[in-house]
Symmetry: C2
Subunit: 514 residues, 2 copies
Amino acid sequence: MSTTRPSATEPETAPEEVERLLARAAAAAPSWGRFTPAARADTLTAVADALDARTGELVPPAAAETGYTTGRLTGEIKRTTVQLRMFADRVRSGAYLDVTIDRADPEFVLGPRPELRRHQVPIGPVVVFAAGNFPFAFSVAGTDTASALAAGCPVILKTHPGHPRTSAATAAIVHEALAEAGAPEGVFAMITGRQAGVTVLRDARISAAAFTGSVRGGRALFDIAAARPTPIPFYGELGSINPVVVTEEALAERAEEIASGFVASFTLGTGQFCTKPGVLLLPRDADTAQTVEVIARAAGEVAAAPMLSADIATGYGYRLAEITAAAGTDVLVKGAVSTDDGGVPQVSPSLVRVASVAQLRAAAAVLLEECFGPAALVVPYDTEEEVEDLLADLDGALTVSIHTSREASGAPGGDKYRRLVELAQQRAGRVVFNAWPTGVAVTHAQNHGGPYPAATSAHTSVGTGAVWRFLRPVVFQDAPDDLLPPALRESNPLRVPRTIDGQSERLPATATES
Amino acid sequence: MSTTRPSATEPETAPEEVERLLARAAAAAPSWGRFTPAARADTLTAVADALDARTGELVPPAAAETGYTTGRLTGEIKRTTVQLRMFADRVRSGAYLDVTIDRADPEFVLGPRPELRRHQVPIGPVVVFAAGNFPFAFSVAGTDTASALAAGCPVILKTHPGHPRTSAATAAIVHEALAEAGAPEGVFAMITGRQAGVTVLRDARISAAAFTGSVRGGRALFDIAAARPTPIPFYGELGSINPVVVTEEALAERAEEIASGFVASFTLGTGQFCTKPGVLLLPRDADTAQTVEVIARAAGEVAAAPMLSADIATGYGYRLAEITAAAGTDVLVKGAVSTDDGGVPQVSPSLVRVASVAQLRAAAAVLLEECFGPAALVVPYDTEEEVEDLLADLDGALTVSIHTSREASGAPGGDKYRRLVELAQQRAGRVVFNAWPTGVAVTHAQNHGGPYPAATSAHTSVGTGAVWRFLRPVVFQDAPDDLLPPALRESNPLRVPRTIDGQSERLPATATES
């Protein structure tokens, strides 16, 4: 497909317009916050319905702007609407309010204790910085927007410059659906341009920020958020090396499967996934050379595919040159770069062997930093301790993956890998077994985050837990019942789940509305 | 009581010793994190038992160093041990692990979904900066230390220079109790001196910080935490004006009670409470002058009492001079300052009237900033809208208190005060009715925090919720059961509460261990 890619600079939303949108978001916050859980859930569902119904309008601009296939883009829109519906369900159930009541206790050991009733309230208007590599799931109506709206916060969305037409088309659908569903006018706004984004991030009316992107860009914005007169939380997902450890048993059992799985995972979406496995650690034994050869052959057979933009391809080229210049590296597959007549850079995968874990660690600043694109390292290790020590010193990662034996029916050697698993847990937000890190399920238990720089907070940005980023607790002490917010009234008119004196309240069956 | 107060500078813990304590804390983190909930709860309980048993050793140095009465100090130690036991109970129940399991779903709408099992893990070693005004409850073994230990994090405690002997005595008891209970050696350490505190805060082995104190000091430390190569969360509780709104009905009903309650609250502990009510807003009517007179008379009758240190008394004096110099202010009670032969500054309360809400707002930078000490403002208001607009623009506060009619049996006038309550909720972490903000119950539902500068995060620092500050989620994907942490195993050997596929699991009755 021949396309013309936009440049990475977009027109800036005019300062007066930015001011107007900020004022509107601030004005909308109280009324959007007062929506009942059911009404807010209905509104989110309306947005999901509209995006589903109009998927056909969204795919062509996205395909042209990202180079992704129609299949990938259709699937990503589906993921986006599933995500919106999941947040809608979460909101409808009232669980996100975390209603907690402690009855008054005149006999409390420290003296008479008042009645306390706590719920969660929206933190206030949020600025969301869209990602470039997921033009739907982490962009205009993606997980950050969905979770902030679910929490009751207006959103000002700063577009990613890589897909302006896709962003505008999505925003138009979101706007229309919100208006039809009766949401206040300022609940959602879109801005473009770097300066407009910074202006909004600095504005006193903004209460939180969410971001998915590079370490450099994310850290610059994080620093701005932290330096404000009133600092605000900056929920960033920045970068991750996502190491994969293959145990001896796993390699003995399924070397070919591991080789092909690894190649499929690190080249998925032309390697432009934050969960791309960047380093494969293989036990060094008689067959390692052969396994590496299988991986190299598979990588060499992957066709060139478009990258998101010329800028990203250029950055990828620099990183790759840096990596291959490091001592102890050996290029097994040298990816080709070509440019089609529309100016789109097409890249085929690269595979680099590092001689040893010691060499990998010696050049950690180059080799253990994220490389955004279809390249990966293969590193033979000599002892398990070596891998454990490597993990212990690793920067925070979104994922660590471990391949163990599948045959031992859930018993991969007792305590042998316990330290490895504990270290993986210390350095990552998700520990994956016998699978690949690309693909992040949208569920309650999901955690997409990890120690810095994987994330700048302890919160997940995917799954229902993402809503907590945009809420804060407020407790009412001895309040007259009719002055309480509805979720906290004794009669529980919203029928939300409650914890009373430390115990979950049993609601009658009719209370289950989700 | 004649005492000699220490100067506000302490000897610095030597750099080599700081390094040794950091290394020890880092080394202790994994094993302390692996303690079962029950074992960790027992350890916390042992610390509480030791502090209860040795209260008699702690009161005399604390009385000498703070000027607080024996009654106050004994009560505060009790509060500290109740707090430790509450965290122990919370840990023992396993609720803090928030175990969440999503079963694999081969039919999931977005494609086959793996099994995900999430729990919370300790964030890592924590530096706690002790407060000066609560030498036990917010100091060495206070809420920050207790909640970090409960979460499984080693603590390095930076003492407050105001009570060095009290700190050392408390730390000795904590050390001994932890060692006897079998906690690893580096789980708790105490350091002294400003530079040592900053060194620890900057150290890569530290994963979070907690602080209670002034806006200036807290913000300086917040900025250091945010500027680290790896930024860490800084949980600060900085300052709050804690406004109190008295409605017409309340004043008509119980003017005398409100007057005496206000004076008792703002002079409690010589006004050295972060929840001190700094501003009383009274409806202006025929009787207001008389009510103000009653308040002034009550304030004038409060005896001089010692402040925590000469430095604090000096700072208080400056703030008071600044306040009384503001336009529209009128000193109703001018507190006396005296110094006893031990050099302890004794202060009697001051009361300042501000002519109107407009005058209050005109000098907001002076009048609506916390004044640490026994002074308060009384401000007549002309309309409810005026009060609402004032609240809407207020800096974040720990509390907003509202006095309504008690007689109308919970119906204080329908919608009349709804906007006021909503604005209070927007600007504060706790909304108090018909009572005073001093006194923070230690319970599940409590929230001690609020928008900046009341707090630097959305988390409470008091009550069981405080433990969340020191945890982060990790999810296991398709893990072999015997490689899972015990809390996540299918058989639930720790018998912790679990949410499975979005529903609370019903545990058999024997599972309730708390």
